[in-house]
């Protein structure tokens, strides 16, 4: 890698060669509104599951986009599908369908 004289934090690096984006693409097929997400975090702010846990739907979303699935299915299990995120979303993303699809996609290896 060319040295530009500054360093990159590894946790912020997205390695396009190593990461797997297939599942993200099929998620977009299942839930087209997923494309509209602007990452505002409104969903995470209102989330019932987030009140007493580390569950963060925005973070799940980010990990899924990056193809980092290791801890994801355990995290997604915390969602109660109550639908508050759906109602606060300013971009009308079908968040519940998104989570269900993520769960399904993570199960298919």
């Amino acid at each position: 890698m060319i040295s530009f004289g500054f360093s990159l934090n590894t946790s912020r690096t997205i390695d396009i060669d190593a990461d797997n984006f297939d599942k993200c693409h099929s998620l977009i097929n299942h839930v087209p509104s997923y494309k509209r997400c602007i990452g505002c975090g409104g969903c995470a702010a209102t989330c019932s599951a987030q009140q007493h846990s580390q569950f963060n739907i925005l973070k799940c979303n980010l990990l899924f986009r990056r193809g980092e699935y290791d801890t994801l299915s355990n995290e997604l299990d915390k969602c109660m599908l109550c639908g508050k995120c759906l109602l606060v979303c300013p971009r009308n993303v079908n968040t519940r369908a998104m989570i269900i699809s993520m769960r399904n996609l993570l199960k298919t290896k």
Partner: protein, 596 residues
């Protein structure tokens, strides 16, 4: 058995009947075999009881006379009556006539169907009466057939905006069914032209046909009639017409107390096969009337289920408002069946929701009169929660706000999406917390939670009230006094508490005390869904908006000052999509509280 009364043309008919009964036998045995333990227990307990007699009566009423279709649409009811009752009567009276003709009970079984052909002109008791009655019944069936033809071409005439789209096997069965009765008419008339043994219809047509070289057509017509019957019988078990027999079976099992269980069972198959695809559910479905979805209605979902085509887009696209369940003349619990088809595997864990908090210890030690469960959606409409707090204070209640932390869900959304293990885990947790409060009543502001508490939570130690019921209770017993204002209001019944739990009068009682309540076109059990239902994961925002706007427009035709609802989700959906005054019943009550 009389060997003289045989002709090769009965072979297709006989073959068809035998194949039909083998198919039916296999299907019925497999359904009954796949009932679960609880369901079999119900059957064994009730099979020898008055319930069986009640079932026979209901089977007659619904499967033969189609009373429910009559109630909804008399012309459609008449059409179904013609086929069901007319055809059965043709067989029964035909058998009686055959017995009278032969003079003994054990006649050749096909004589009931083909007697006119085999008659040799000898006299038998009531010969003319039989000829008349048989022709009358045939006319009756043919009149139904005419209506069926009109319905196919122009369904509006029979009061149906849309009718069911057919599959290829349906079409073969339908065409053979349509051919059966005209062919019977022609065959009997041709025979009557030669033998002069017809009634008012067949003889008249026969006299007309006598001018033609009719003797060459008699046998071919009887062959055609027999082949049409054969085709219909062979295809029947694989088409919508399977309902003719499955519906009877379903009526019996339902009367014996069998209900849908948590998972798919033989009873689910019975329900799926009892659907006659009459299409009544299409016209009541708001996804059709307001959002233009034409392939997701219960009739299509059930057809897919029968053909084992699992289209998740169809399975998931349902508001579960239960309008179709209410309208279904067969009484199939279509939304429950759909829920069963959404079943997804759990991840074999028990501690899904171990992060949820429990009741704090100083909450446990106090004695409460009310346990208040706001519900997730109420937390998005804080005005409802604030109003309820005011009402509780005014009524002098000592209440415990269970989900003040905004983190508890009743589990209904998970259940509706088929995550059963998760829903059970949540139910266990919430039950435990609610029971710890040891309050006199559990009050909830969310109809979804209310429905779930009433129908799913079987271990709650206190009666459950929706806040409409609670407010009605405290206004009736004088704990709070309401001041009537000069406001015009209409009330929107939320699906989950109206059709789901029959709460109709309580909110109306309260509203009449606070203002002028006007009725709407779609109220009580004909209420419309707001479109925001969380049961549907396949629907997009624009379609929700279309339904919300449509429902809102229907409800506010009388141009009221306020649209009142009793559900935070309905309120939120209406407000997001319509710039008008929508209020929850609790807010209305707080507005007209006598502040002294």
């Amino acid at each position: 058995m009389d060997i003289n009364m045989y002709n090769p043309f009965i072979v297709p008919f006989a073959f068809g009947v035998i194949v039909l009964f083998i198919n039916l036998f296999i299907a019925f045995v497999s359904w009954i075999y796949h009932l679960d333990k609880q369901q079999s227990k119900h059957v064994l307990k009730n099979i020898i009881s008055f319930k069986t007699i009640a079932a026979i009566w209901e089977a007659l009423r619904e499967c033969i006379f189609h009373r429910n279709i009559f109630k909804r649409n008399p012309v459609l009811g008449y059409m179904h009556l013609c086929f069901a009752f007319g055809w059965l009567a043709l067989i029964v009276v035909g058998k009686m006539e055959a017995v009278a003709y032969v003079g003994e009970y054990w006649t050749n079984p096909w004589l009931a169907i083909f007697l006119r052909f085999f008659e040799d002109g000898r006299a038998f008791p009531h010969k003319e009466v039989y000829a008349f009655v048989m022709d009358l019944l045939l006319t009756f069936v043919l009149s139904g057939l005419l209506l069926a033809l009109i319905k196919r071409v122009y369904s509006q005439l029979l009061g149906m905006k849309k009718t069911t789209k057919h599959t290829p096997s349906d079409r073969i069965a339908l065409i053979s069914l349509w051919c059966i009765f005209p062919l019977r008419l022609l065959a009997e008339s041709a025979t009557a032209a030669i033998k002069h043994n017809g009634g008012f219809l067949t003889q008249s047509l026969g006299n007309l046909l006598a001018n033609l070289p009719i003797e060459h057509f008699v046998l071919p017509l009887w062959w055609a009639y027999s082949i049409a019957l054969c085709l219909f019988f062979i295809f029947m078990p694989f088409t919508r017409y399977m309902h003719i027999f499955s519906e009877v079976l379903l009526v019996f099992f339902r009367k014996w107390g069998v209900t849908e269980s948590e998972k798919k069972t033989g009873y689910t198959d019975m329900e799926i096969n009892a659907c006659s695809r009459c299409g009544i559910c299409i016209d009541v479905c708001q996804l059709n009337t307001a959002a233009n979805f034409n392939n997701v209605q219960s009739v299509y979902f059930i057809r897919n289920a029968r053909e084992m085509v699992n289209n998740t887009k169809v399975i998931n696209n349902c508001l579960m408002c239960n309008r179709c369940v209410d309208a279904c003349p067969v009484g199939i619990k279509t939304t429950l069946v759909r829920q069963l088809f959404r079943e997804k595997d759990g991840f074999n864990k028990t501690n899904y929701y171990d992060y949820l908090n429990t009741l704090s210890s100083d909450n446990k030690s106090k004695k409460y009169s009310i346990a208040y469960f706001a519900g997730c959606m109420s937390h998005l409409t804080p005005s409802i929660i604030n109003s309820m707090k005011t009402i509780f204070d005014k009524a002098g209640e000592n209440y415990c706000f269970i989900d003040e932390d905004k983190n508890l869900c009743c589990g209904k959304p998970l259940r509706q999406q088929g995550f059963l293990t998760q829903a059970e885990a949540l139910k266990k947790h919430v039950t435990e917390i609610i029971n710890q409060t040891d309050a006199d009543f559990l009050v909830t502001s969310c109809p979804i939670c209310y429905n779930s508490f009433v129908n799913e939570y079987n271990e709650l130690k206190m009666p459950v009230l929706h806040h409409t019921q609670y407010i009605d209770m405290i206004t009736t017993n004088g704990k709070i006094v309401l001041e009537k204002k000069n406001l015009s209001m209409v009330y929107h019944d939320p699906c989950e508490i109206s059709r789901g739990c029959n709460i109709y009068e309580e909110p109306r009682n309260v509203l009449r005390k606070t203002g002028n309540l006007f009725s709407t076109e779609n109220e009580k059990n004909d209420t419309l869904c707001c479109g925001g239902s969380i049961a549907d994961t396949a629907i997009e925002g624009t379609d929700i908006e279309a339904i919300a706007k449509n429902t809102f427009a229907t409800l506010t035709k009388s141009n009221p000052d306020i649209l009142v609802t009793a559900c935070p989700l309905c309120k939120k959906t209406f407000m997001r999509n319509n710039a008008a005054c929508v209020k929850d019943i609790s807010e209305i009550v707080v507005d007209s509280l006598n502040i002294d």
